[in-house]
């Protein structure tokens, strides 16, 4: 995927949605809409009652999904159904550790692989605490995607990269998820520092919300993640057009148009 995007001269685009938001029945159509709009990979948020690294928009999406009882097992169900309906993009399950623990950290990666998912990003599981889970991921051929932040020391970046197998998730900014007017000035310096320490592809997330942001990220990294802006798009759409509006938003970011799409 990264090679393909690089050859096309653009960053891979990885949108995020929270599974079960705004309703369990909408997750599969939304996943398909993301791909139709040009997503290269998808981050599917596993809802948690206490999303401490998330800003208000994604917090709210988590609460709504948790209220409806959406579980890790339900998330696997969404992936399975989406695959049956033709979803091809890699799906990375993103969330917090406790729902995985409750499901069983040793069986979660195998079951996720069987459902058609491709990897995990666990916000509150740094590699040194991930022992058992990491082993289970390796055994199931699921990627474990660690995070690095502007506050991560060089020696630690090298160590973290050693636990990664697919790519590194670079947290662009000190703070929670959510849109910001501009990318942080220190971003190129930070990404350059990571680049100097690992050959792995780099995805950048947190605070990215527009096509301009994605293009800017594309000049220094391999992939860009948009989360809160997708959730905000869902919120702004009327119920009948959520998937369509999300697809349009993704198209506006990727510049991607399907043949026979809504052109003139």
């Amino acid at each position: 995927m990264f090679e393909r995007c690089r050859a096309a001269g653009r960053p891979a685009f990885m949108p995020y949605i929270t599974a079960g938001y705004p309703g369990a029945a909408e997750t599969v159509p939304l996943l398909l809409a993301l791909e139709a709009g040009g997503a290269d990979a998808i981050e599917l948020g596993v809802p948690f009652s206490d999303p401490m690294a998330d800003g208000a928009t994604i917090q709210h999406a988590n609460y709504v999904a948790v209220e409806q009882g959406v579980s890790f097992a339900d998330c696997l169900g969404f992936v399975r159904t989406a695959r049956e309906r033709g979803l091809e993009a890699p799906v990375i399950l993103m969330g917090y550790y406790n729902p995985l623990l409750a499901y069983g950290e040793e069986r979660a990666p195998g079951d996720a692989a069987a459902a058609g998912a491709d990897g995990f990003i666990v916000v509150d599981l740094p590699p040194e605490e991930a022992g058992r889970f990491l082993v289970a991921c390796r055994g199931a051929d699921m990627s474990f995607v660690p995070l690095v932040a502007p506050t991560t020391a060089d020696t630690r970046i090298a160590k973290i990269a050693g636990a990664a197998d697919a790519f590194l998730y670079c947290v662009s900014v000190l703070g929670t998820t959510g849109q910001r007017a501009a990318l942080p000035e220190e971003l190129p310096g930070f990404i350059g520092r990571v680049r100097g320490l690992t050959g792995l592809p780099l995805a950048v997330g947190f605070g990215i919300g527009t096509r301009e942001h994605v293009e800017e990220v594309g000049r220094i990294a391999d992939a860009a993640v948009i989360g809160s802006a997708i959730i905000a798009t869902i919120d702004a759409a009327d119920e009948a057009h959520r998937a369509q509006r999300v697809r349009e938003f993704v198209e506006s970011v990727t510049g991607h148009k399907q043949a026979g799409g809504d052109g003139p």
Binding site: D50, A53, Y63, A102, P146, A153, R156
Partner: protein, 396 residues
Amino acid sequence: MSADTTLSPRFGEFGGRYVPETLVGAHEELEEAYSAARSDPAFGDELEGLLKHYVGRPTPLYLAERLTRECGGARIWLKREDLAHTGAHKINNAIGQALLAKRLGKPRIIAETGAGQHGVATATVCAMLGLECAVYMGSEDIRRQSLNVFRMKMLGATVIPVESGSRTLKDAINEAMRDWVTNVRTTHYLIGSAIGPHPFPTIVRDFQSVIGREARQQMLEQAGKLPDVAIACVGGGSNAIGLFHPFVDDPVRLIGVEAAGEGVGTGRHSATLVAGRPGVLHGTRTYLLQDANGQILETHSISAGLDYPGVGPEHSWLKTSERAEYVAVDDVQALEGFKALTRAEGIIPALEPSHAVYHALKVARSLDPGEDLLIGLSGRGDKDMHTVAAALGVTL
């Protein structure tokens, strides 16, 4: 057996550091600063001086003679943390961590608070040391602890209402963590209980252990022996671990009392160790109140300070290793404990230790007159007068 896990990140299988990557560096830095401070006599002297002249330590150990007579069993001793400056044990930890923040060169302090006692203690210490202070507090707690909110504001702190989730302590911690992730370079998160990621449970335990160290010494002096039983209330568990820790290697029965709220069977309670199971929340592996999907449950207690779905990881270890036992006392029983101590001794306890008092009276009755029972009286009850009045159907 020894509970000394000094700067080891785990207590048995519990503890650890489950934090977003952005905060890992700050925890490593804090661990280094604390290790250095512990072996620096200047730090110890400054802390000791403040505990003596500012907090008023040592706090007294008081033999509750009338209460003892009423129970007709063991002698009942109270470790009077309610007499510490600001009216609760929270100041012991607030001072220690604020001094650490100064060593770290961080001019801004954030804290979470439930009952408001930790918020008041933190705001107090920040006023004294000239540090900027912001306190996160659930809007539900702000409503039931308005006096403490006003105290914090008078002390110069900013109180930030938290509207998410159950609008109580757990949500205040989430918001404080979000603030910290954003401002980590200038800010120290002064966690108020023996919870959170390593090294917080160890740091808070160490700063609160002054309670048990003093009590142990005072028991030997005043009773001529160690207590047979030590009892304290457990929310996050900082006053309990502070009382228990110096007794862990002694033949002293340790009992932690959690809040059963409206009853453990009703689902509306905060009895984490009694009714929960292990998981990871707020950066630590510990017992949690959670559903089958790993979602954290909303809790209930008449006392805002016990209203928390997790518990300090060292308590989880003391439970599974069977060194301490944990029970739950409900809202109505806590009010009974509150009234008993107030009437018999002229000491108005906070609702949190009222849970411990209720259970202690029960235990005392089952013991012989030659035996001694020690209660950690973690705070005074002024802040709870509105809640108690409402529970008794009185309009103030």
